[in-house]
Amino acid sequence: MMLQKIIEALKARNELSGWSVRHNVTREAQVYLIGQKMEAQRLTGEENFRIEVFRQKTGPDGKVGMGAGEVTLLPDGNVAEAIDTASLVADLVSNPVYSLPAPAAIPDVPLLDEDVSRDPLGALDRVTRDMLAAASKLDGARLTSAEAFAEIGTVHHVNSRGVDAEQTSSSVSLEFVVQAKKGDQEVESFRELTRRRVSDLDIESEVTRYARFTRDLLEAGAPPAWQGPVVMRNNLLATFVAGDYLSPGVLQTLGSAGAKYAKASTWEVGQSVFRGEVTGDPFTFWANRAIPYGITSDRFDLEGLPAQRVEIVRDNKVTTFAASQRYADYLSLVPTGAFGGVELSAGKWETASLLEEPYVEIALFSWFNPDNITGDFSSEIRLGYLVENGVRKPFRGGQLVGNFLDALANVRLSKETGFLGHYLGPTTARFGNLKVAG
């Protein structure tokens, strides 16, 4: 067995102060639709061994330094040659010494949809059938294209301190486009979502919701010039607070020990994360890798640290940073591992009370991408609503302009919470004073 062969070879290398190996195996099914027609169908797989080795040496100044070297080996690769390469690199690099994670109890975080694991292509067939069935009921909008992916990934992580852990996870991604037409005017909405279980995709309601957005785009007018309450809900709120799960947001950046060590984060333990007065709800959040079926959840992370729910900010003040073993050692913090999902404390407000008119509700951004260091943002609104005098008037265009942390310092959050893939928390937020530049 290749993994065992690599482990034996690593154990035999006296020059190494430590090592880890990850055996990664993935298999994936992919389906692409144009209308109801299948454009492409693909089956793919990958297997590799990620080896990281560590060496310590004393520099000319008498200080002990440490270097790491990483290499990825394919199943037919040369083990000795790969370790030689990694060891050589580890000898070239010199950083402050840090430790490897020690063995610890690994929590049983649910990550796998058994149906997807048994038959990824079959699972996609059901996903696309459900999506097309939902689309067939649409009035005034049509689903024009879609892509669906189902992946099963198994990771076996072993290190020189005795960590030996394995996890299998699934993920199912669905993208679809809904279009609507009125005269010469054509509009569309695009939805991308990833979950670990097919049942969490909530396909029918997603298709229906995006069809409604698309029809509203046909009626949308010019953006209002607005400064005042702005409401965000559900997936859009999740993206605002936690980024899209592929690109982390402000909280993940400023709350990470890596950014603190690099002097990119100005957050300090015990200090408020806000630069001014807090006029909204107190802000508390956790970095949570243990959210059941969370798409950024795991049982253990890339270093082998067990999943945790870590309080990063309590009542506006920094409690700690999400820290890998390396940065925990550098900053004398408790290692917590990778960030995972964002969990926000529930608010105290009934949702209805957050919808007091007038307000602007943002439904779709082109892309919400704040500056993760400063928190400043200026993001184009693809669909929004001005709600006043009992009328919900759609608009498109314009930009939501502000600062992420200033916005959070003046927010009211709903009691009602929900799980949205990489976010767990209130499903409605009313920001007290944001600007829409029309």
Binding site: L88, S94, A264, E380, V401
Partner: protein
């Protein structure tokens, strides 16, 4: 013929491809094989730590069979002949492919290698690390306000072989990219940052920042310490080449990928030979541009690279294609069928996308602006092929007042507007030309290496 030295397992399988294709083609008249091996080395040095990482390679074989309606593929990790043979048998059995008869193309054979002065593979990791350390050490000492300075070097080797009954071509494309990030602290303790990237297809000789380039990055970061938010509204502005490039990329790059035409997602499909910009606007996608970061010799579907003029003097002429969309639309192919790696599907994707040069000098263009903005640097963009809305976010911009750039800085700045209106407002195009390297996704996935850029443009749009 160029001396292309492929990774050994890939080279070994290449020798068997004629037999595999011959067997596959008996059941599927359109049958092709792509062998792809992409691996890279990354070196990062900053004030507090350094890393040398061999990034996880993606190496595998793609078998493609087309029945005229559906492209069926098997993507196999590695280059094992038995596994590829077995996948070929599985792929072509149980489905009738015979209804599609591909056009017979002229036989094509050839190997290609990125021209370079010094092949990085001839240098030791130590030599590369030393160069990066040296640049970082020099840069961090240029200003006392720097709290961290990071230098990143990445070399990416892309080996590929494409074969079908009439084609057997191989290439090695070497992409070099260098990033400098600088973080500075103000008197109030706030941190601001700036960066610069440069990239090319080429060798080790590309991996160098000049002192002038480094100082420009630092000056940009320092200027951000006193940056203001811009008052939203319509402005006359001049886009730096990188900003011009993102506008080209998001509007007539993504907006003219012809897989979007068959999905009815592209407004451009209704604008062929119609006016979409001022007569000064010319936009190209050119994977054959020597030395550019997004260049290659043939795409992942075997199409030899060549330039495509997308917009000619303000008229939209044609889109960029992959095999599937060109076949479905019955239009000529361009060399834009690209995959993130062997495990992903080919789509119509950009390579080097840019505005064509004009005749104006930058100084004359600035002098024409009484009150406006010089947009120095982009940070992100997002496409809207159906609505032709534009969203480009700029890291910062300088005020232009009375025909001169002032010290007043605004950050960040979003550009928004309707693409034909924005391009229709272009009133001057500079005679300078520069490309920025970058990564491009299709939506939020399918990353490929591209560049975008062009000259400075003088135009109008909403900034906020």
């Amino acid at each position: 013929m160029t001396n292309l030295i492929l990774p050994s397992a890939m080279n070994s399988l290449r020798g068997s491809l004629a037999d595999i294709i011959s067997q596959g083609q008996k059941r599927a008249p359109y049958f092709s094989v792509l062998l792809s091996d992409r691996h890279s080395l990354e070196i990062v040095v900053n004030n507090r730590e350094e890393r040398v990482t061999e990034r996880p390679p993606h190496a595998g074989t793609v078998l493609s069979a087309f029945d005229g309606e559906t492209m069926r593929e098997r993507a196999i990790a590695g280059f094992d002949r038995d596994k590829v043979n077995s996948a070929m048998q599985e792929l072509v059995s149980g489905v009738s492919f015979a209804k599609y008869a591909p056009a017979v193309s002229a036989p094509r054979r050839g190997d290609f290698v990125t021209p370079m002065q010094t092949d990085p593979s001839t240098l030791s990791v130590q030599e590369k690390l030393d160069r990066v350390r040296e640049m970082q050490h020099f840069a961090k000492g240029l200003d006392p306000r720097i709290v961290n300075c990071q230098m990143l070097y990445r070399e990416s080797n892309e080996y590929s072989v494409f074969a079908n009954p009439n084609t057997d071509v191989g290439q090695r494309v070497l992409r070099i990219v260098l990033y400098m990030f600088v973080f500075v602290a103000g008197e109030d303790g706030q941190v601001r940052y700036n960066w610069q990237s440069k990239g090319a297809t080429g060798g080790w000789e590309q991996a160098q920042f000049s002192e002038e380039e480094m100082r420009k990055v630092i000056d940009g970061a320092v200027a951000l310490l006193t940056a203001e938010r811009i008052e939203p509204g319509e402005y006359q502005f001049i886009s730096a080449p990188g900003v011009s490039g993102v506008i080209a990329h998001e509007s007539f790059g993504h907006g003219v990928e012809t897989d979007m035409f068959i999905k009815e997602r592209a407004k451009a499909a209704h604008f062929i030979d119609k006016v979409v910009g001022s007569s000064l606007v010319n936009i190209y996608d050119d994977p054959s541009l020597p030395g550019a970061y997004g260049s290659f010799f043939f795409d992942d579907e075997g199409m030899e690279s060549s330039s495509t003029q997308i917009v000619e003097n303000g008229l939209f002429r044609r889109g960029i294609t992959d095999f599937y969309s060109a076949t479905a639309l019955d239009i000529p192919r361009s060399s834009n069928g690209r995959r993130q790696d062997y495990s992903r599907k080919a789509y119509a994707r950009m390579s080097n996308t840019f505005f064509g040069k004009g005749n104006s000098s930058l100084e004359d263009m600035i002098a024409q602006v009484d009150h406006g903005i010089y947009l120095d640097k982009w940070s992100s963009g997002m496409e809207d092929p159906k609505g032709w809305g534009i969203q480009v976010t700029c890291h910062y911009g300088h005020e232009i007042k009375g025909g001169k750039i002032t010290d007043r800085v605004f950050a960040p700045i979003g550009i928004s507007g309707y693409v034909p209106d924005v391009l229709g407002s272009v009133s001057a195009v500079s005679n300078q030309f520069k490309l920025d390297p970058g990564g491009c996704g299709k939506g939020h996935k399918e990353l490929v290496s591209v560049s975008s850029g062009g000259p400075h443009l003088l135009m109008k749009a909403r900034l906020g």
